[in-house]
Amino acid sequence: MRREIPILITSVAGLVFAVSYFIPHFPFGESESIFGDWVTIVQAFAIWLGALNLIKVSWEKISRKKADWPFALLIVISLVATLLIGFIDGYRGLNAEPQYSFRDPGTSFDWLFRHVYTALTSTMFSMLAFFVGSASYRAFRARNLQATLLLIAGFFVMGGRVPLLDQMIAPIWDYPFFSHLADWIMTFPNTAGQRAIMIGIALGVMSSSLRIILGIERSHVGGGTR
């Protein structure tokens, strides 16, 4: 029973939502937005489970004095501190007259967001510049026809999307040839490849969804396949 009920719920939910696409009438026409509301609310509940899991795993490290436990402690401290700041700011804002949001400029939470969260996020993201460099040096070799095509397309798009190659040929030919070439590659061969992948994905998604709705695929409820 513990496996059958979830599988039944999956199938019924899947069927209802698939059919609702074709029915504009209430409540089917609204089913997507209702489901959307529900998912966001479940997510808001689930994030607490996540936070507790994070604390639990970190606490295990700390209590057993595993390697790097001080860093686990740092995780717990910064998590709790952020929660405290957020809730104090949030409720203060709701009770203030006029009300303000915990995200408004001037709140401690906004300070934390801008100087800690944003700084860290942007920096981590920007590290990709370095990884792109090392990947280009290491892996971009014209080893066979396929790799060569990848390389050539990459080369022209990279050089054409900024006025780099065009500046180089400007003394001889005053025409943005490479910029046009990059556009051409993006508009035609790139579109062709993307379209083939997109159509394939659509069929893959349909097939996967169907397997789930039909109950053939049931690993998501801990059922494996039948």
Binding site: T10, S126, V132
Partner: protein, 213 residues
């Protein structure tokens, strides 16, 4: 406070970059702060935006309550039964519901947007002309390329047919198109990655150190 903030941000920035040299305690500390703060950040944002603003104000204290919202709250509470090992199995119900609804929803949406509309745009006049009726050769070549690329690309994705003979050749041409697509995406992406780094360097050099304007 602002100046203090800029210093904190600058030091954290350098802490992350130290990973490029190798994994080290400074990076580990920065990473720990990042994980903790971000998990807390989202918990706070979700609480106020979803539970408070959307559910509490929208369905409980509102003069015109949206009763459908209670469905979400029920699913959410069922989900939290995971916290109690004895009744934890109930949490599979909301999970099963979300997975099923997603499957049903996307089955059709993906088919319409990705398969039907993309096929429809592939069915087009091969000879491209401008408004005056003159033939645009580069665009005509382009539409031919799209046609060949889509057909051979799809052939590559056949699972139940061996890649041999004409079929194999088509599949091979398909991989060429995929490779060009990947190269183009890669080249295009490089630009974005560099932009991010430029943004960061701009912060360090102008906001923090004031080397440049």
């Amino acid at each position: 406070m602002e100046l203090f903030g800029i210093w904190i941000a600058a030091l954290l920035t350098l802490g992350i970059y130290s990973f490029l040299y190798k994994d080290n305690p400074v990076y580990k500390a920065t990473e720990a702060i990042f994980v903790g703060v971000s998990a807390g950040y989202w918990a706070v944002v979700y609480y106020f935006d979803n539970i408070y603003k959307k559910f509490w104000e929208g369905a409980v204290t509102s003069d015109n309550p949206d009763y459908w919202m209670y469905g979400g709250a029920v699913l959410g509470l069922l989900f939290l039964t995971r916290l109690f090992p004895k009744i934890g199995w109930i949490s599979r119900w909301p999970l099963a519901f979300i997975v099923g609804a997603t499957a049903g929803l996307y089955m059709v949406i993906y088919f319409v947007t990705n398969a039907m509309n993309q096929t429809a745009s592939t069915i087009m006049d091969i000879v491209a002309r401008n408004a005056a009726g003159e033939i645009l050769w580069m665009d005509t070549l382009g539409t031919l390329v799209i046609l060949v690329g889509v057909v051979t690309g799809l052939v590559y994705f056949f699972f139940s047919k061996e890649h041999k003979g004409v079929f194999g050749t088509a599949a091979k041409v398909g991989t060429w198109f995929l490779m060009i697509t990947f190269g183009a995406s890669f080249g295009y992406t490089v630009m974005s990655r560099m932009s991010l780094f430029i943004g960061r360097m701009d912060f360090l050099m102008s906001d923090w150190l004031h080397i440049i304007k």
